[in-house]
């Protein structure tokens, strides 16, 4: 009888990887789903940082985990006890390829399109936008501006600093404080 989600939660990453490696395709769906649940958020975070695009980060997470399952079944993962390192390495490799592809797309868009494509909000955001908007409103004016310029307008600290007439170090301090407050507001202060 296959393991339930609850029992799989207690299984180590290494054991999940070994089960997938030792199973036939289709017979380890629960183990693959559990490994995906554990690592896809990490790949998404990695993808957002390196690809600067949430949709591309979602795609990267899917591609990386699918490739990981294939490599496990093909016995190409030599150290299942290091499955996290393998997934990180695969993320790095695939992100490089995605960046190259994105640059080609941008070059083509610059040549053949009059205006850049609008950036659609990610459809996969789990948090409630009105609640986050309310928490953004509750921030101090400068804190909110720094957060919005960083994570909405994608500006880095030196540029924000120049716009706001403060130092890049001050921007970082404000951003740390603001994100802590925003997190506490959105998540109800349940996290440290």
């Amino acid at each position: 009888m296959p393991d339930t989600r609850a029992t799989l939660e207690a299984v180590s990453d290494e054991a999940l990887a070994r089960r997938i490696a030792g199973g036939q395709a289709g017979s380890t769906d629960a183990e693959e789903a559990e490994l995906y649940r554990r690592f896809a958020p990490r790949v998404r975070l990695y993808g957002r940082r390196h690809l600067r695009n949430d949709a591309a980060a979602d795609d990267l997470a899917q591609d990386v985990l699918l490739l990981t399952f294939e490599r496990l079944r093909a016995s190409d993962v030599r150290q299942p006890e290091q499955i996290g390192s393998f997934i990180l390495g695969t993320s790095r490799m695939m992100a490089v390829g995605e960046r190259r592809l994105a640059r080609r797309r941008e070059a083509l868009a610059a040549r053949f399109m009059d205006t850049p494509a609008a950036i659609a909000p990610s459809p996969t955001t789990a948090l409630d936008a009105p609640r986050v908007a309310a928490c953004l409103r509750a921030l101090a004016e400068r804190d909110r501006l720094v957060v919005m310029l960083t994570f909405y307008a994608d500006r880095e600290a030196p540029r924000i600093a120049a716009d706001l007439g403060i130092s890049p170090g001050a921007v970082r301090v404000i951003r740390h404080r603001a994100m802590a407050r925003l997190r506490d507001c959105v998540l109800g202060g349940e996290r440290r």
Binding site: R38, R48, A129, A140, E141, R142, L145, A157
Partner: protein, 189 residues
């Protein structure tokens, strides 16, 4: 940074990581830790969800407050319909909010004389409805930009909206200007 061993990664590190402002070495150290530590990975995933939620939240045009040209430009590029009013002190202008408008941007001009902190008070029909104090830098056109959700203005009756801007310099308050929007209700094409 606290990414070594099994110590928790600090929120400040996650913030800098998400903002893309860590060195390659620092970012790689965080990544190595996250892919090995389930506990930190859960916290990082929560934080990532928060970061990702900022864009759609701002896109709702319900945030408002002091903004910059860069933010307004980004909102416009992403399809948010912004109606702009350029106002000098003492100005009284008709406030036309059309049904498709999502955000009203008030470009408040005046003599800022290097002030970096302001209070913006809004009165509707003579009654104070909000008071916002914040550290803001006047832009190159000697103006500060204040954004108001159009949905809020649209639900108002026919009424005057007064905006009073005060500068704070060294503990002294100085009026910058009073700007009046004569709201004539929501307009449809």
């Amino acid at each position: 940074m606290t990414a070594s061993g099994c110590e928790r990664i600090a929120l400040a590190d996650l913030t800098d990581y998400a903002a893309g402002e860590l060195s390659q070495t620092e970012a790689a150290a965080i990544e190595e830790h996250l892919f090995a530590c389930a506990g930190c990975a859960v916290r990082a995933a929560e934080f990532n969800a928060l970061v990702r939620a900022i864009r759609p939240a701002v896109h709702t045009a319900e945030v408002g407050g002091f903004v910059t040209d860069e933010l307004l430009n980004q909102l416009s590029r992403e399809g948010v319909r912004v109606r702009t009013f350029a106002l000098s002190p003492g100005t009284v202008v008709p406030c036309a909010v059309w049904e498709g408008d999502e955000l009203m941007a008030l470009r408040l001009r005046g003599d800022f004389a290097g002030a970096g902190e302001f209070t913006l008070l809004q009165r509707v029909g003579g009654t104070e409805v909000s008071r916002v104090r914040g550290e803001v830098t006047a832009g190159e056109h000697d103006e500060v930009i204040f954004a108001i959700p159009a949905s809020w203005v649209r639900q108002l009756p026919i009424v005057d909206i007064d905006v009073l801007l005060t500068a704070h310099e060294g503990g002294v308050e100085r009026p910058v200007g009073r700007y009046t929007l004569v709201h004539a209700g929501s307009l449809a094409r």
